[in-house]
């Protein structure tokens, strides 16, 4: 390595100081979470609207890293209504996965912590604030009541166990009572076939590295759906699937949703899939929600300059262009966020007001919200920040 410290590296002393400070903060959080026999009253809460399955309310999730505090999610609010699908789109690295991992309580610990805000989960007769739930309670609902399809299949598959054993285990854990080994195996085979895996008997015996990328992804989908969850988080569930199998998997999710009235939070970069699946769309940028509305509002009337740029970047089959449009510039450093609109440095539609502090949320219709100065005189300023 070159002698002079390159940009991007901190000095050793600085890093040690930060590390010590981080440990102090994260230890306090961890102690809180590891307590035993926490009374339910501590994490009981009320849904703002009983028709919602999940409500994210001003969620802040930070990572305490040696290079500083990464504010991955910095004030995210949106809701997932019961029986509906909410599509989440946004810049790569804007905090979509971290938002969903916060709901699952699967953030990388101890660095990753929810520092502020609530995630309210509708349990039917009561509501829980997930951010305050202790580990032991969370384990009972994870994979069962709420379940997640992970973005990278290898994070949820163990490379040293056969596929069959891993899916069997999920079923046995939550729905295993009174079932024989044979029953469970049959259920696993049935699930694998449901997600379109040929040779399910053979795949049952295989190790993860022997599967193709798309097959691994489908195994993860099968595992996530094994217990008919009421809330499904699908983080890029179809990136490794060809369009015909993708259509089959989307149908599967839709059927499950209709059958048991589940709610789906669907994260994807594929605007075509969003258009097909989602009832509502949330657009995130740099750890914040910049726009949300019904799928029709977002597609026919995108308001935020980032959403507009996103819609313009997508190549379309049958349309020849020399160079694809891409939004110029870069996202700000999450350790050192600006105090004005996070998109301003890349925005091609700035107005005078953009010099001011981060714009608050403007309501364009009963369901359509946007955080942008361009709409300030549209309606009276309203909503929270």
């Amino acid at each position: 390595m070159a002698k002079k410290k390159a940009e991007g590296y901190l000095s050793g002393r600085e890093a040690r100081r930060i590390a010590k400070e981080n440990r102090r903060i994260t230890n306090a959080f961890e102690k809180q979470r590891k307590r035993k026999n926490v009374p339910e009253s501590e994490y009981l809460t009320h849904m703002a609207d009983p028709n919602n399955a999940v409500e994210f309310d001003n969620l802040h999730t930070y990572f305490y890293t040696d290079a500083g505090v990464v504010k991955s999610v910095d004030g995210v609010s949106f809701e997932v209504p019961i029986g509906k699908t909410v599509g989440v789109v946004g810049e790569s690295g804007c905090g979509k996965s971290v938002t969903s991992l916060s709901l699952m309580q699967l953030l990388q610990r101890p660095q990753g912590q929810v520092v502020e805000g609530e995630i309210r989960l509708n349990m039917g007769d009561k509501a829980y604030d997930v951010t305050k739930m202790p580990n032991e309670q969370m384990q009972k609902i994870r994979g069962n009541y709420v379940s997640m399809i992970f973005q990278e299949p290898m994070t949820s598959l163990n490379p040293v166990f056969r596929i069959g054993e891993q899916v069997d285990e999920v079923i046995a854990l939550h729905h295993g009572e009174g079932k024989t080994k044979e029953d469970i195996k049959n259920r696993t085979i049935e699930l694998l076939e449901m997600v379109g895996i040929a040779n399910s008997q053979g795949v049952y015996q295989m190790y993860p590295h022997e599967l193709s990328g798309g097959m691994r992804q489908r195994v993860c989908i099968a595992m996530a759906l094994a217990c008919s969850p009421k809330v499904i988080i699908a983080d890029e569930p179809t990136t490794a699937l060809d369009v015909t199998i993708q259509a089959q998997v989307l149908d599967l999710l839709r059927n499950l949703k209709d059958k048991i009235n589940s709610s789906i939070m669907f994260i994807t970069h594929d605007l075509g899939v969003i258009a097909e699946m989602a009832d509502y769309v949330v657009v995130m940028y740099a750890g914040r929600v910049v726009e949300k509305g019904t799928v029709h509002e977002i597609f026919s009337n995108p308001a935020h300059p980032y959403t507009i740029g996103l819609m313009a970047s997508k190549p379309v089959v049958g349309k020849q262009v020399d160079k694809l449009y891409s939004i110029p510039g870069k996202v700000p450093n999450p350790i050192d966020m600006p105090n004005y609109c996070y998109f301003k440095d890349r925005c091609e539609m700035c107005v005078a007001g953009c010099e001011g502090e981060y714009p608050c949320q403007v309501q364009l219709s009963p369901t359509h919200f946007v955080s942008c100065y361009r709409y300030y005189d549209h309606k009276n300023q309203g909503g929270e920040g």
């Binding site: 070159a2 940009e7 991007g8 590296y9 990572f63 890293t65 290079a67 789109v89 810049e91 790569s92 690295g93 804007c94 979509k96 996965s97 971290v98 973005q151 990278e152 299949p153 290898m154 994070t155 379109g196 895996i197 040929a198 040779n199 053979g202 022997e210 193709s212 990328g213 798309g214 890029e236 990136t239 490794a240 699937l241 060809d242 369009v243 015909t244 199998i245 993708q246 259509a247 970069h269 594929d270 075509g272 969003i274 258009a275 097909e276 029709h296 597609f299 996103l310 819609m311 970047s313 190549p315 379309v316 089959v317 049958g318 262009v321 694809l324 891409s326 870069k330 450093n333 350790i335």
Partner: protein
Amino acid sequence: MSDKKSVISKGDFTPVEYDPQYILQVNHLKKYFPIKGGMVSKTVGHVKAVDGVTFNLKRGTTMGLVGESGCGKTTTGRTILRLAGEKTDGQVLFNGKEVYDMSPKEMRALRTKMQIIFQDPFSSLSPRLPVGEIIGEAVREHKLVSKSEFNDYIDKVMDNCGLQPFHKARYPHEFSGGQRQRICIARALALNPEFVVCDEPVSALDVSIQAQIINLLKDLQDQYNLTYLFISHDLSVVEHISDSVGVMYLGNLVEYGDTEDIFRNPLHPYTKALFSAIPVPDPNAKMNRIVLEGSIPSPANPPSGCKFHTRCPYATERCKVEAPCQREVEPGHYVVCHLFDK
């Protein structure tokens, strides 16, 4: 697995000679994975992941490779680069030299010229190295730039791929899925390769960064005459970036031709079904999907005759018993299907 012999037929093809207009010539390439079974782990059959693939790739062009999940695209790419153990049969000529006949020393030199961007970034990045090192390691090892230029060079490569200097000291687990994908791209491109297998390189990126990466790949191609094998499920991206397209089904190419011909005039029943399922970014759009009936056959035990006959809406008796041959339907547009015999 029905036939007891399970002998692999080898050398059942006419070898090709070097043709200098092609950087890569793939001829009847096969890659089978053994299936172990029983108490003594005997080989009881084979997964025929790649089962006789033939194509040529001109220098400075891009070939898109599409097909059903599990049909053997990744295995094709890895076998070409000699990353999947020994090939089962066939030829892979890179600049006229058989890749599988190279000595370890030649192979090492070749490794910088042929790169792969892996489909699964998570498992292909070493968790113990900071990102600056991951990208720069091989650059330093092969002395591609001088010491004094090293840092600037890495910064430039990272910047091109949408990564920023403050990312350098961080470790792979601290990144989002799409950021990790960009690290893989930067690592491959930093070595100034001649040929790159891009296995789903933009699947985890938002459309804007995806556009940036695709523009970058095209710019590099214009500047350095790079050649790509571009594997992707996103057909709009494939159409945009490729000069030619190959459609795979269960280990074989079933259709092959210029991008324009394939998209304007898809011929094979599988290609037609595939194209009909492309999602449209418009919530009001009505889809006319061709739904493929029947379950997906297993590559361990592929159907007789045309491998697609179990799901093909046009299948006849003949398709069940006789495997179709490749036909050139219009100049440079090949299809493997009985419907085009004549």
